[in-house]
Symmetry: D3
């Protein structure tokens, strides 16, 4: 039995609220169970120096967690004066994941920064960030089309992410914090709606695991992301009045 | 005329939602017009080294702003590796303001950290932070009483804050961003429900101003905080089921 | 009785020596009782990036304290690798205070940096810094006029600052360290010679205080700054051979 | 055709020289083609604070690259004042990978730090680091047994890592720099000699890739690590005179 | 001819004023020509961790320069967030130089920090710092004897320092800034009153120099320090009323 | 007797291997006894801002030590976030030493960075770095001539460095770690093949030393560097096929 009483292949309730951040070109407040992440997309009229003059755009991400998003208060990274290795690793993952479906040359010399800030944490924050960031990005791109900055969406796919793990209840989908902290293996799958792979991160927490277990986790993930794609689509449609 | 069409002595709509941060001992999501700040109170079983063994507690505050809380995206302080002078100044102000009404020896050897994170900014974020932080603090203290850690609330007063300024429309109450950015003088008043002064910060933005103008701003502030005290009281009563 | 035996409305002895820093365009070594601050004004032929090409000048300030300016040696901020919140707050205050009386467009595309370094500390260092910095600034501007860089002084007023506080002896003027460390309220008034307000910072140290007490502190400050304006004027006259 | 003329499933030449770092309890200079990493294991008689008094040991890793290990000189991280996100991500990976096969309670209250410093880089430095670090770790543990600090090797398995990628030549094993910089997908597999999974990191570089391609990469990796396990075993045997 | 009109073996005027820093256990404001350094000695009742419990004391130094001690304003190290290599090199030199004449075990478990802050710079600041720091140290030690903390001065010698260089005028003693900035070789000699060597730093600025030239510089330095020893002795005698 | 059994004027075995760093324009792996330093010269097509447009080149150096180059593991400077004072002092010394024999205007607007990374440490790492860096520099310059970037070597001399010290065995040449850690005086001599002085650093470790002792150390150094010049010449000849 899972601590939450869920079936092994059962996602937590998912909701995506758009427009929460009033100034951002796109924003999504995503809730996956008790995890809540505010994702904003900010469009800026410049590119990093390595892209200057090359006619290509850029998409990047930053990740943060409010100090009391967690059970015990964590130190504020701004006050410590540096971002942790975990934070850097997550924001690099979010950035790579979103870039993989954007046609950067078609974006033109614009930058889009995806800020993912965790307001409440209950496991799976990096996956919720990717899933929410895609919505924020999609809305920002839609606005660029609506305002005639771009002629069409420079977007090649739909991306969402989910974690799976090996627990006492066997392979399970969408770990919450209670499961995550004792899982024997922790995996994150970033997948596209057309069944392709964007990123896979699989880690043995305690001891190496078998290839068979790994494939069962992969299967659960493929099942789980379909729920997320539906939630993303519904949020976009609601926001754009479709 | 004010940009928002408000009367000179008219506050923006105020609301305070408690319990938004699920893990915190107390939390308040305060909205003052378009400004929205998530305030959490975290109780920890330790005190800073300068208080160790002295039988006294401590209250401190940290302040942050999500990168896209503002019109244009601001750099993330955690990524820059340091908090700005403005941030440090504001969090010192919040900490001093709340400590002034807490009976620290009666708190015992506990620390309470008030995290004020701005989700959306439209002027007056430091004042909203103080006003919301008082609610989060009050709820956390109430929980310490309810769980028999403390016998009674170690609280000597109720604190709220409001900004006033000199604009083309004369002295006005509760500046929003449009007013704040062009005000000739900017003042922040932190006051108690029993009409005492906790902190006053008054700054000439462009040119020194007269004592008479200053007293008119003070009068507006006294009027404004009464609205905030009512909102605080209503939020506490709702949260504690009174 | 005050620890120093002074009357409640009595300033400590004030002296201002100009020219101590031989390389600076203007310098003032100000002594207020046992507090001693070396203030220098450095003129540079450039402006911060946000002002570039706008035809306006800039005035800014930095503040520091020698490690052994105080009773117990404090850590050197350069060695710690960051300036404290207190330092940043003070240097922002000094900068704002001086800018409020400079006609920045009339200064042209020049920057003036006011460095205030405390050589000996006995309370009131931020107020002494402002008062001394005005002299250094005035001398540097005078030299720009004397060397035909400017046609006239781009200065709209004379600024000085003094602290007042509530102590066991009641409201008193010009706190020294012994008083400052136990005052119930600590206020800093930055005022102009024509009786206007530049900055007011009032803080309850221990418990909120009454409006009446506050007004008495304000009255003492107005009395105290007149001594400082005289000392400033005398120092300028001596330095410029008037 | 691969730039190096290798077959798709062909590793570069691998050699592991032990004892290069004369002071370390264990060291391995691993060469995989033109990539050369010096791995040292340092045993220290202390554990991080979160393990103090719990009777368990710790294994951690740090990674660095000499500034001119690469085609163009890179900035020295010590001079920049911080480690890049890439560095932190890699050293976290190395640490997790090695911990997964160490019986930490059996190690007792000792720490082992694995330093992996790249002397020459030609792709695959993180995989070479893991493979070499396992040898350094194994030698250091062997010495602890030889000197009677431990009764037996607290080691549950043998770990090695290899990268695979999708290139113009199809799925290939053991990417060198020329391939890595243009691969459409880049994957790192950390596997054990008994065919279990320690870590998998798979990233689409340009566009999401198919599940089928992914499984072919996995197959190549399983083939490649067997070469590494042999090299590790030979190095250990040579070093311990077996 | 030297820019200052001095003879090759002529020191600039030297004066040492004690007691300038009112809180320090010992202080000396040393002036060597236009160079002016405030040196303070702070006694603290603790030692660095590597000496704890070993019954030995410690002497260390920190060096700083006020931003406008120089012709052009230099950036404040506290604001930049780090001390320059030059600063660290100088403060390490000052610390080593003073430690070489202190009997650290006889000092007992006390630390003495020598802060050398340059108020005005005109060349030779590291040498003036060492010379002044010896006076501050000697006064602080004298106070420890006078207050019966120590039975006798734990001091084995008298240290002073002077720079010499090769200029267009040949080998010269006590370089000022005008000479220092164009000297072909720059040397600093830290010597004792009993003709021993504490430190020598000799650097070719532009091209390597001959051994003969070097010995002539050494001879000038030996001559120069005698003036400094006299000034130190006079300052100590005046301060201690001898 | 010396710990190593060497004669007082006997160097340790010296070897210099070129080409170890495959990407660098010049590289030398120098071994002096148990000390081993990898020196690389990187040529870059730019100069620091203070030289831009002046037609002159630049030579600079960086120094590092692998964490386990020493008996006990030292903290990684990149992880600590700053270089120690010792590191900065050494790399400044290496840079000055090499610049003293380069004709910078003849180099043209190119920068050469000498990275000296200690792989194994047994005393004398700064001297080995200088000696090895000269070889790396000479090879890089030779390549610039060979590729017609320069018409002739912009090199005015050959530089090497050796340490000497006062030990229980009297004045000795080329200190190893066992000697260095207990020497009463530690000196580093950077000299040219034509018997000129580039840098001298002499430090009393425990107590000031006599001029006579100092001259004996100088004599030993002059003897020692001749061995190093031969090793440098042999390495260059071998590398360039002479």
């Amino acid at each position: 039995m899972r601590p939450s009483g869920r079936q092994p292949d059962q996602m937590r309730p998912v909701s995506i609220e758009t427009g929460f951040a009033r100034h951002a070109e796109g924003s999504a407040l995503i809730r996956v169970g008790g995890t809540e992440v505010l994702c904003t997309a900010s469009v800026e009229n410049r590119v990093p120096s390595f892209l200057r003059g090359k006619g290509s755009g850029w998409v990047t991400a930053e990740y943060g967690m409010l100090p009391r998003a967690t059970h015990a208060r964590g130190p504020r990274e701004a006050a410590k004066g540096k971002q942790s290795g975990r934070t850097l690793e997550i924001q690099r993952l979010i950035g790579r994941s979103l870039r993989s479906v954007v046609d950067l040359p078609a974006l033109g010399e614009l930058s889009i920064t995806l800020d993912c800030d965790v307001l409440n944490a209950d496991g799976g924050t990096r996956c919720a960030s990717i899933t929410g960031a895609w919505v924020a990005l999609r809305l920002a791109l839609g606005r660029l089309v609506a305002t005639n900055v771009l002629r069409q969406l420079p977007l090649r796919g739909q991306v969402a992410a989910v974690s799976c793990g090996l627990t006492a209840a066997g392979p399970v989908l969408d770990l919450d914090y209670a499961e995550d902290s004792i899982a024997a293996a922790d995996t994150n799958f970033v997948l596209t709606a057309d069944h392709r792979i964007v990123e896979i991160q699989a880690s043995a927490e305690d001891a190496p695991f078998t290839q068979d277990a790994y494939f069962r986790l992969f299967g659960l993930a493929q099942q789980g992301v379909s729920v997320l794609f539906d939630a993303q689509t519904a949020a976009i449609n609601a926001a754009e009045g479709l």
